[in-house]
Each structure stands twice: as C-alpha cells, then as structure tokens.
C-alpha cells in the first residue's frame, strides 16, 4: 500500500460522509409533515455530533473518557446563561458553549495526561457525577442554572426576522444538518490530519509514537479540547431546540444510548457514529411502547455488538483489519521523516 492507498482511504471517508448527508438532505421533501419523524431526525443529528466527538477521543485517540455528557451539559448551560445574561444571539451562544466546554475539556484533560486508562475514565466520570449536585447547589443557582428545576425558558433562535419554532421542524432540520456537517467535517479533518495520525499512533503504541516524535501531552490535550468543544457547541443547540435544560440528561440512559451509537456504528470508524446515531434512535423510538424493556434490550445489544461486531456497521460495509490502520500510520510517519531528511540535506 503506497501513498495512493492513503488518498483513496481519505476520499472514501469523505465520500461516505457526503453521501449520507446528501441522502439526509432529501428526507424533508417526503416527510416534512411528519412531525414526530422530523423530531427524531433532528435529535439524531444532535446525538450524532456528541457520539462523533466522543468517538474522536475514545475511538480514534483511545483515551478512555466518560465525561462527554458532562461537556454537553456544560456547553448547554453556559450557552443559555450567557445569552440570558448579555442578551446576545443564541448563534453566539453556541460558540460560547463550545469555547467554555472546550476549556473545561482541557482543564479535565490536564490531570488525565499522566493517568492510565481506568483512572482517566474515573476522573472524567467524576466530572459527570459531580456536575449534577453542583448545578443544583446554591453556587449553581447563583450563576443561573435554575437549581433542581433547571432552565425553563431559553431565548429563541432567529435568523433575520424568522423565529425558529417547534411547529416548523424543517428549518431546524436543515440548520442542524449544516451544523452537524460542520462538526463532522472538523472531526474528519482532525482524523485525517497530522493530529489524527498522531492520535492513532498514540492509541496503538505510545512508545512507537514517542519514538517518531509525537508529543503525547500536546496531542492528548488538543483532542480533549476539540472533542469537548464540539460537544459543548451542540449542547447549546440542544438546549435551544428542546427549549429547556435540566440535569436530567445526566441520567445514565443517555450515557448508554450514546454508547450504543458508538458500538453500533463502529468505534474509531469514520463516520460510524453518524450512522450509529440514526439507527440507534430509530431502534429506541420503535421500542417506545416497551419502555421498561427498552434499556434491557439496549444493554443486551451492547453486549452482543461488542462481542460479535467489533467494527460496527461501518465494519460490515468496509471491513478493515486493525493492521491496516497501523500500517497507514507507520507509513505516514516514514513519509514525514523522509521529507524532513530531504529538507535537511
């Protein structure tokens, strides 16, 4: 496999992404009157971004974090609180949500740099666990989290003179289509950039990565930041779409559902998280009438999928040995080294 193989792979990933988005863009033509279906599609796009950025850090970078929903909540709350406090447009609120969550991500990432797998999982999960009592506490109330009740009114999203509303899902759908596409494009760019190769190198062998000069600390912090920022940004969008925000989304069911999206789509397989999100949401919705059993089935599904289908749906469509990834990575670094050597001589 030479450089051509590399390029092929990159084009294929982008092609799949574009094809999926092209198909999605057509859906409202047929279903714009079906409110509940449109709602599922919109929510799927939101969770897809969360799952995708979780996949970026866990699937690609191999860093075991359980703080993704915490970053979603941090982004959501800070976005809404800033909008209310300063009267800024929710569009800026989304950015602020991303920035605050990204900052929080780097902050959480710092103590994790020196820690090993299960410890990183614990520290990040601790953030998740502490967030709820914090948001409900007096300090939380003082900054405007609304305590146990949560935030019940969210400033509406406008574009020109048009005000987004729950009765018209189509504008919401296309807005989310664009926002989530941007998010996935960023993830795609990161995965196929120098950074991305460094992540993969770090995941597969820290020793190897260091031997070719990858700075583990720097890249780990960057991936913490990007993954949290994308999630925080979509947190703001989520709050705006749902129209309220409370600590209920910190419940374990969302955590599990996101995990189903990841393993169903294929961990570390771009854009598996996107496909996983849609399929999972549709399974979830079709099980709506068996609510008590829904999470039992999901629990079973996670077990079966992890054991029987380690590369998820994407793995079924485009099977790829792990060796392929390593080879690609090694190749990439060899090329880089060769280029460096050329420049010196």
């Amino acid at each position: 496999m030479g450089h051509g193989g590399n390029l092929m792979k990159i084009k294929k990933d982008l092609g799949v992404l574009l094809a999926v988005y092209g198909l999605l863009a057509l859906l409202p033509i047929f279903f714009h009157n079906n409110m509940s279906l449109m709602n599922i599609l919109i929510i799927s796009l939101i969770w897809a971004v969360v799952a995708g950025s979780w996949d970026l850090i866990m699937g690609f970078a191999g860093i075991f974090t359980f703080g993704q929903i915490a970053f979603l909540v941090i982004g959501g709350y800070s976005s809404v609180i800033f909008c209310k406090l300063f009267g800024i447009s929710p569009w800026f609120g989304f950015l602020i949500g991303g920035i605050v969550a990204g900052g929080a991500g780097i902050l959480v990432g710092l103590p994790c740099l020196k820690l090993k797998g299960a410890y990183v999982a614990l520290v990040t999960f601790a953030v998740h666990m502490i967030l709820e009592p914090f948001l409900k506490s007096d300090i939380g109330r003082a900054i405007g989290t609304g305590g146990a009740q949560g935030i019940l009114t969210v400033p509406p999203l406008k574009i020109g003179s048009y005000v987004y509303n729950a009765m018209e899902p189509t504008p919401w759908f296309y807005t989310l289509l664009i926002i989530s596409f941007i998010a996935f494009f960023i993830i795609y760019k990161v995965v196929h950039s120098m950074w991305g190769y460094s992540f993969i190198a770090l995941r597969d062998s820290e020793l190897f990565a260091q031997s070719v000069g990858v700075n583990a600390f720097k890249y780990k912090l960057i991936v913490f930041g990007i993954s949290a920022a994308l999630t925080g940004m979509i947190g703001g969008v989520y709050a705006n779409y749902v129209g309220m925000l409370s600590t209920r989304i910190l419940g374990l069911d969302l955590f599990l559902i996101l995990m189903v999206m990841l393993v169903l789509g294929g961990m570390g397989r771009f854009p598996g998280a996107l496909l996983g999100a849609f399929i999972t949401m549709f399974i979830s919705e079709s099980l709506r009438y068996f609510d008590t059993y829904r999470l039992i089935i999901f629990g079973l599904l996670v077990m079966v999928l992890v054991i029987k289908m380690p590369q998820g749906i994407i793995g079924l469509i485009f099977p790829l040995g792990k060796a392929g990834i390593i080879e690609r990575t090694i190749l990439h670094f060899r090329e880089k080294k060769a280029k460096k050597a050329e420049m010196i001589t």
């Binding site: 820690l115 090993k116 299960a118 009592p133 008590t292 996670v302 992890v306």
Partner: protein
C-alpha cells in the same frame, strides 16, 4: 468535642470496613484480569434483591446466605466466561471489556427495575439495640457489620495467601506470563476471580440492605465509591484498597458530620485528585 470525635471515628471505621469489603472485590478483578468491571455495582444490587426475595419467603437471614452465595458466585463466573473471555484476544480488549460490562450493568439494573419496580425495598435490621460504653453508644447493627466485614476480609486474605488456588490468583495478578509459564490455568483463575468479586459485592449488598435499602440503580453509588477507593489505593492493589477504604470511610464520617452529606463525594474526589496529581499510580499502585 472528644466524644464527638470518637463517635465520628467509630462511624468512620465502620464505614471503612464495609467499603473495604466492597473495594477489594473490585481491586481483585482489576489486579488479576485487568478488566474494569462496570457491572460491579449491579452485583451489589443483585445481592440486595436476592436477600429481599428470599427474606420475603419468611425464612430469615440464614437461608439468604445459602441461596445467595452460590448464585452470586455463578453469576460472576458466567460473566467472565460469556462476556470477557471472547474479547481477550483482541487488541482493544480493555475498552471492549468496559463496554461489555457497562452493557451488562444496564441490562441487570433495568431487569431489577422491571421485576421489582423503581421504588426502594427495605429489609428489617439484622440486629437491633446497642451497647453503651460510658458516653459512647455503639449500635449492634453497625457492630455486626464491622465484625462480619472483618471476618469476610480475613478469610479472603487467608484464601489468597494459604490456598493453592489463592496463590495462583495472586500469581496471575503479579505476572500473567509468569503464571502461564508455570502451568497455572489462567482461564480458571479469571473465572474464579470474577466469581469471588461478584460474591464480595453481593455480600456487601446483603449486609447493607437493611441500612441503605435496595433499589435498581443503587449499585452505581457503590460502583463509584469502590472505584474511588481502589483508585486511591492504587488500581489492583488489595492492600492499597484496604487502607484507602478506611481513610475514605473516616473522611466520609467527618465531612458528613461537620460539613454536610452532600459534600462527601466532592471530598472524596478532591482527596483522590490531589493524590493522583502527586502519585499518578495511587497510594500503593505500581505501573504495568
């Protein structure tokens, strides 16, 4: 003031003894199999519900143990054989194992909820009354929990150091390749480790059921606490977990008494984070 302090310390040590029981099961599994078992808390709940079910049949506490011990042991063994073993040859098996056990936790917890409903179940106390030592009062229930925990802990330590199988378990924890080379059946050891760990968690659930009630998701609190304890002690270090359990038990009693119960988990995480910044491998942990 002195009496207050003694009271708090007694309560801290009682907490610590039960936490030690809960945490070594987790430390054992991590130390031996390198699996972080997310379903650990669900085995705790399973113990509680088993106790509730058997107790509901009006047989008293003794039959609870006779029925629960083999069932918990089996559940743990089956978990390893069915869920973990098929993953072991994979490069990303550690992460896969976490996800599988997370799936199992969700499956078990929601099954409990489907069977027993979302509300907490209560069990009568094992012992009532208490004794007075001058101005200090010690409840019999707490005393019994302390004694039972210490007995279980001691027998567990004896199992590890004196029996051939126990030594094999420790050998696998210290050096998996070394254990294979000398002909230790590591698959059996892995299974037994999971079984013993589920048993310890479940016994904890039975012991604590009268005090904290039984609920479908009650295990998560235990999972997080056991996790913090083992992390503080050094993941996989049983000795470290024992110390950490008592340290955190006493901190819990102090924070609960003087500052407020809501701050207990904050205090735990603060202690953990400070320790990890200074010693990333925990108090007694080793890298590798």
């Amino acid at each position: 003031m002195l009496i207050e302090l003694i009271d708090v310390l007694i309560s801290g040590i009682t907490n610590g003894s039960v936490y030690a029981l809960m945490a070594i099961g987790m430390a054992l599994v991590y130390g031996v199999t390198k699996v972080f078992n997310f379903a650990y808390g669900s085995f705790y709940s399973m113990g509680g519900y088993l106790a509730f079910t058997v107790f509901g049949l009006k047989f008293g506490y003794f039959p609870v143990l006779i029925i629960a011990v083999p069932l918990l042991f089996l559940a743990g063994f089956a978990t390893e054989v069915i869920l973990i073993k098929p993953l072991r040859h994979r490069a990303d098996w550690e992460m896969a194992a976490v996800m599988v056990t997370l799936g199992l936790a969700m499956f078990l917890d929601n099954t409990f909820q489907a069977i027993y409903g979302p509300f907490t179940k209560s069990l009568p106390a094992l012992f009532t009354g208490g004794m007075e030592l001058g101005p200090i009062w010690i409840g019999n229930q707490n005393m019994a929990m302390f004694v039972i925990s210490i007995v279980v802990l001691t027998s567990f330590m004896l199992f590890l150091s004196k029996t051939r199988l126990g030594m094999a378990v420790e050998a696998v924890a210290q050096d998996m390749d070394g254990a294979q080379i000398v002909g230790i059946p590591i698959n059996v050891v892995f299974g037994v480790t999971f079984a013993v760990s589920a048993l310890l968690a479940g016994l904890g659930g039975i012991l604590l059921a009268p005090k904290y009630f039984v609920s479908p998701f009650g295990g998560w609190d235990i999972l997080v606490k056991a996790w913090v304890i083992t992390a503080l002690g050094g993941m996989g270090s049983i000795r470290g977990s024992l110390y950490a359990a008592f340290i955190l038990g006493i901190i819990e009693a102090m924070v609960g008494y003087w500052i407020g119960f809501t701050w207990i988990l904050f205090a735990w995480f603060a202690v953990l984070l400070t320790t990890l910044i200074i010693r990333p491998q925990g108090l007694f942990g080793t890298w590798g």
